[in-house]
């Protein structure tokens, strides 16, 4: 499988980009002497590469914003948020999504009927409405984004898992396990999940760009990460206001954001091709 993944150049580029961005998200802020919320009114709107006033010998790699905060530090802090959201969405997919999908698909009947109706109700409420309502209870920030993802982020995966389970539970090897006296749990763990794993992993990867985008979108609308914390979405939002005068304030976070989303998409595509046996070399006569 790995060898087939390696053969896809796009997927490898995607994986490399994700690794690089993660590395910088981790060490980037430490490479500069500034913190993400350090205000310096004497160095507003410095262009990229400008020397620092407070810390002689240091540069503002990517310039500063309207409050003189270092953009390099803020962008990498924002990337951290995006990656946190990515990780969170995968985790949610793999826990809630699988549990919900397996229960609905395997037990079927009335259980399935009730679970699917609940799901349709949740699906019917736009995420933006959920988050706006959450604002009444919670302050905008990471917590509300997390809650929004937990609330609705797993729906697509649970639908996929349900469909896979419905298909796999009718296979003859599941019947064979039943005739051997296997319990439901043993059938799910040994016969069903391993054979759906490929699809599940791909789907979880595919949901990552969507989750990153959701966070950026909420922050852009002012419903996400509040100042002075930064996320890629909120950086783009504030940079966007002075785009014509100080283009780097919006360009740099946009480039990083696009790189991140495209990389995840490419890697997910590569993973799908590597796992999909029907696309592989068929041993045709």
């Amino acid at each position: 499988m790995w060898s087939r993944f390696k053969r896809s150049r796009g997927a490898m580029a995607g994986l490399f980009c994700i690794a690089l961005l993660s590395l910088f998200a981790l060490i980037g802020p430490a490479l500069s002497p500034y913190t993400y919320d350090e205000v310096s009114l004497s160095s507003q709107y410095l262009p990229p590469g400008a020397p620092s006033e407070e810390y002689p010998g240091h540069l503002h790699f990517w310039g500063t914003d309207e409050l003189g905060r270092d953009l390099w530090t803020r962008v990498w802090m924002g990337t951290r948020i995006s990656l946190y959201v990515a990780l969170l969405s995968v985790l949610i997919d793999l826990t809630i999504g699988i549990l919900y999908g397996v229960t609905a698909g395997y037990y079927g009947g009335a259980v399935d009927l009730i679970l699917q109706r609940i799901l349709e109700v949740i699906q019917g409420i736009p995420t933006i409405v959920i988050v706006t309502l959450l604002m009444l209870v919670l302050k905008p920030g990471l917590v509300s984004i997390t809650v929004a993802l937990v609330f609705a982020g797993w729906i697509n995966l649970s639908l996929l898992v349900r469909a896979q389970v419905l298909k796999l539970k009718e296979t003859e090897y599941v019947l064979a396990s039943k005739t051997l006296g296997a319990s439901d749990l043993s059938i799910i763990i040994r016969d069903i999940l391993p054979n759906a794993a490929g699809q599940i992993v791909i789907m979880a990867m595919m949901s990552v760009p969507g989750a990153i985008f959701l966070e950026a979108y909420l922050s852009f609308l002012g419903l996400g990460i509040p100042d002075p914390m930064a996320s890629l979405g909120s950086l783009i939002n504030s940079g966007f206001k002075s785009m014509l005068l100080y283009p780097w304030l919006v360009l740099i976070p946009v480039i990083i954001f696009v790189l991140l989303v495209v990389s995840f998409n490419l890697a997910a595509d590569g993973l799908r091709d590597a796992l999909d046996v029907t696309l592989g070399t068929s041993e045709d006569r």
Partner: protein, 271 residues
């Protein structure tokens, strides 16, 4: 035969669907199987023969009638314990060895599944030894233990499926078209293996098939199914030599034969 039968099926009924769309799959089927005997159910697709097999092993709950196995009624609702107990005495081989083996498990683990479920070993070594000995019995090489189903030929896969069923030491084996997905030359190998294992282990067998020539080679008694009903039962000699039902005759005449004189009449009879 005066022996007490191992399996007695009486007036078995099975339907698919509900309400007005209900389709009768099996209607009032009754037969018995004695210990160590091979009873063959033959019929065309849609005759209900596979449904009978799946109902006996309780993949499908019967909608009517009685199934007595080893003197116990197994046609009612079974508790988890009863189901487990039944699975040690009653086993099944499926038609297509491509789809009856879990593609993501190694052959050794597939065969050991029954041992795992019923905790029939005290150590990993014992588990492995039990699996290896049954693999030897069905003619699989030792190195097959760590290979995946996709790395085997059709015949070898069916051997894995047979080993998986036999490791439970069943009293009755249901073989649902066990060779129809295989090449002709491999079919003979698998049929020989089944005959040999049956003799050695004293297993009774319900052999479900549409290939009458094969049935001739393996069965003691034969039941002919047509549109959900069992229309004729008798010893293999009687069914193949002197069938009483016109449908049985038609079925026998349709079998293509190598040497037309084999059956005394031309294969492509007027039907």
């Amino acid at each position: 035969m005066t022996e007490t039968p191992l399996l007695t099926v009486s007036n078995l009924k099975q339907y698919y669907g509900t309400g007005k769309k209900r389709v009768r799959a099996v209607e009032d089927v009754s037969f018995t199987i004695c210990p160590e005997e091979t009873f063959a159910l033959v019929g065309e697709s849609g005759s209900g023969k596979t449904t009978v097999g799946r109902t006996i092993i309780r993949i499908l709950p019967p909608k009517g009638g009685k199934i007595l196995f080893g003197g116990k009624d197994i046609s009612g609702k079974l508790s988890g314990e009863e189901r487990k107990e039944l699975s040690r005495k009653l086993q099944m081989i499926f038609q297509d060895p491509m789809s009856s083996l879990n593609p993501s498990e190694k052959a050794g683990d597939i065969i050991a599944r029954g041992l795992d479920i019923h905790r029939l070993y005290s150590s990993r070594t014992e588990r492995r030894e039990k699996v290896l000995s049954i693999m030897k019995e069905v003619g699989l090489p030792e190195e097959a233990f760590d290979r995946y189903p996709s790395q085997f030929s059709g015949g070898q896969r069916q051997r894995i499926a047979i080993a998986r069923a036999l490791i439970m030491n069943p009293e009755l084996l249901i073989a649902d078209e066990p060779v129809s997905a295989l090449d002709v030359s491999v079919r003979a190998q698998i049929i020989n293996l089944l005959k040999e294992l049956q003799r050695k282990r004293h297993i009774a067998m319900l052999f479900i098939a549409h290939d009458l020539a094969l049935v001739r080679q393996i069965s003691d008694r034969v039941g002919v199914m047509h549109e959900g009903k069992l229309i004729e039962t008798g010893t293999a000699e009687k069914i193949f030599g002197h069938p009483s039902q016109p449908y049985t005759k038609k079925l026998l005449d349709s079998v293509p034969v190598l040497y037309p004189e084999d059956t005394g009449s031309s294969g492509t009879g007027e039907v």
